[in-house]
Symmetry: C2
Subunit: 295 residues, 2 copies
């Protein structure tokens, strides 16, 4: 394996072990609820947000023990949003990460509750993280709640996305929705790493720039994959954007030009790291990983 | 007004003002989301949990400023649970507090998001409460997340309630469900007041006893009102328990005997306060208020 593959494998192992410790065992009552949570959490997600958090945290000298629970919490919030986003009243998606979405497998009511309580468990995990000072814990909860809430956060983005279904949006408007819907929590993961690593304000500001580029890069590659990869490789329904006539980057610029834009944004992410005066190999590798991903 | 009416009126004013400051204004985008949140939050709820929190906090000498945000946060978590509980996939209730439930008014997708983000805003509000030390803030988040999560918390109780729809339960099983579904957060409100007021372990233990009785009293009076009051006074659909053939206290013991049980539990709540050696007039009045309520 390459160094970044090693790193991603370690991240997955650690974040999965940590989530396994936070989420009640499947045998605990109510069994159905805990099975549903575990179905969605342990479905082989890419763990991009935890990877960003670990990479930034390690860049600033934080230990793995200090990073684990916050990384797990952010992944749990991401998973709650996916469970609710897949519901019939929302995106109505039956397939997620190559298998039945939570509500297809466990019913709508349980899926709603599984999402609800993943959010609860996430904030609880940070509040009870004894490897961090109480001051850092409340700062982390504040940053993550702002990014996953409203205004300007993940839930705002989902609401704007819902509103957009009935009207034609510009690419700029779509960018703004993505920035809230997925970019904010991605950025929060990077910022959380900086908070735990006690980065200075200047350093945190560079990390914010970098994270914004990573978030945009993730979205553009997502758009590209939607039109270039089949459902089997994506693990979710392919061609959804085109079917919904969404104004994506490929729809606007064409596939070839979009690939060039993606490369430029990857380079912008590199650029944002220059002021740090740290070894940023890992952070640059994550930009490459997202740029080069096939699903 | 009586002293307790004065107190309840002050609680409502303060908790509503605090929530108004925490929740984005209705004019802020996404407007629909913020309107939906405000529709459900400012629907004239009884504010029983905030009242308990203030009453316990004041008993231990906490100031109103120290209590406001946590009281608001607990009320917001209670409201999120109501919004999701009313959804078609859950209890499917069109009426709440005398008017359309959130999903009837704003659609299912927005109601799901409104509930989601109320939880987020609640934990954010506590994390950012500068009247409290960071140590107290993380303790509060931990207590409230445990009570509203799983296992043993509000969401567990809702899942058990769902599971119960297809089978006959004993009154004891129903008690256990209620204890999780509504009792846990009610207790957490009282315990949060003790945490903010820096109560000793012995004092907190007495408050837990008291809160458990209050939670049970609330449930039994709820059961009674369901069979004795019309929909107009309840502000929610009357006779639902009987229609669903739920094994409630009145169904099991009859109305008259249930009223006696309610009075005994009110007296148990009084009794639990004896070890405190404080002025507990307010806490006893809250027990009376719940015992005597007509909706």
């Amino acid at each position: 394996m390459t160094a970044i593959e090693d790193f991603m494998s370690d991240v997955r192992t650690d974040v999965d072990r940590t989530m396994d410790g936070i989420i009640p065992r499947a045998e605990v009552e109510p069994v159905r609820l805990h099975e549903a949570i575990r179905w969605s959490v342990f479905a082989g997600g890419k763990r991009i947000r935890p990877a960003l958090l670990y990479a930034v945290g390690k860049t600033f000298g934080a230990s793995e023990a200090e990073l684990s629970r916050t990384a797990a919490a952010i992944e749990m919030i991401h998973t709650y949003s996916i469970i609710h986003d897949d519901l019939p009243a929302m995106d109505d998606d039956d397939l997620r990460r190559g298998r039945a979405s939570c509500h297809k497998q466990f019913g709508e009511a349980t899926a709603i509750l599984a999402g609800d309580v993943l959010q609860t468990l996430a904030f609880k995990a940070i509040a009870e993280d004894e490897t961090l000072s109480a001051d850092i814990r409340v700062r982390l909860i504040s940053v993550i709640a702002a990014a996953s809430g409203t205004p300007g956060g993940m839930v705002s983005g989902q609401q704007l996305d819902l509103n957009a279904e009935t009207k034609k949006l510009s690419l700029q408007e779509i960018d703004s929705i993505h920035h809230q819907k997925t970019g904010a929590l991605t950025s929060a993961a990077a910022i959380a790493g900086a908070v735990i690593g006690c980065a200075t304000d200047e350093e945190t500001s560079a990390i914010k720039q970098y994270a914004a580029k990573i978030g945009l890069l993730f979205q553009i590659t997502d758009d590209l994959l939607d039109v270039t990869q089949p459902t089997e490789i994506l693990g979710k329904t392919a061609g959804k954007d085109a079917a919904a006539q969404k104004p994506t980057y490929p729809a606007h610029y064409g596939i070839e030009q979009t690939a060039i834009i993606a490369k430029n944004i990857r380079n912008d992410a590199y650029e944002a790291l220059v002021p740090l005066q740290k070894d940023t190999t890992l952070l640059r590798s994550i930009a490459d990983l997202i740029h080069d991903r096939i699903n």
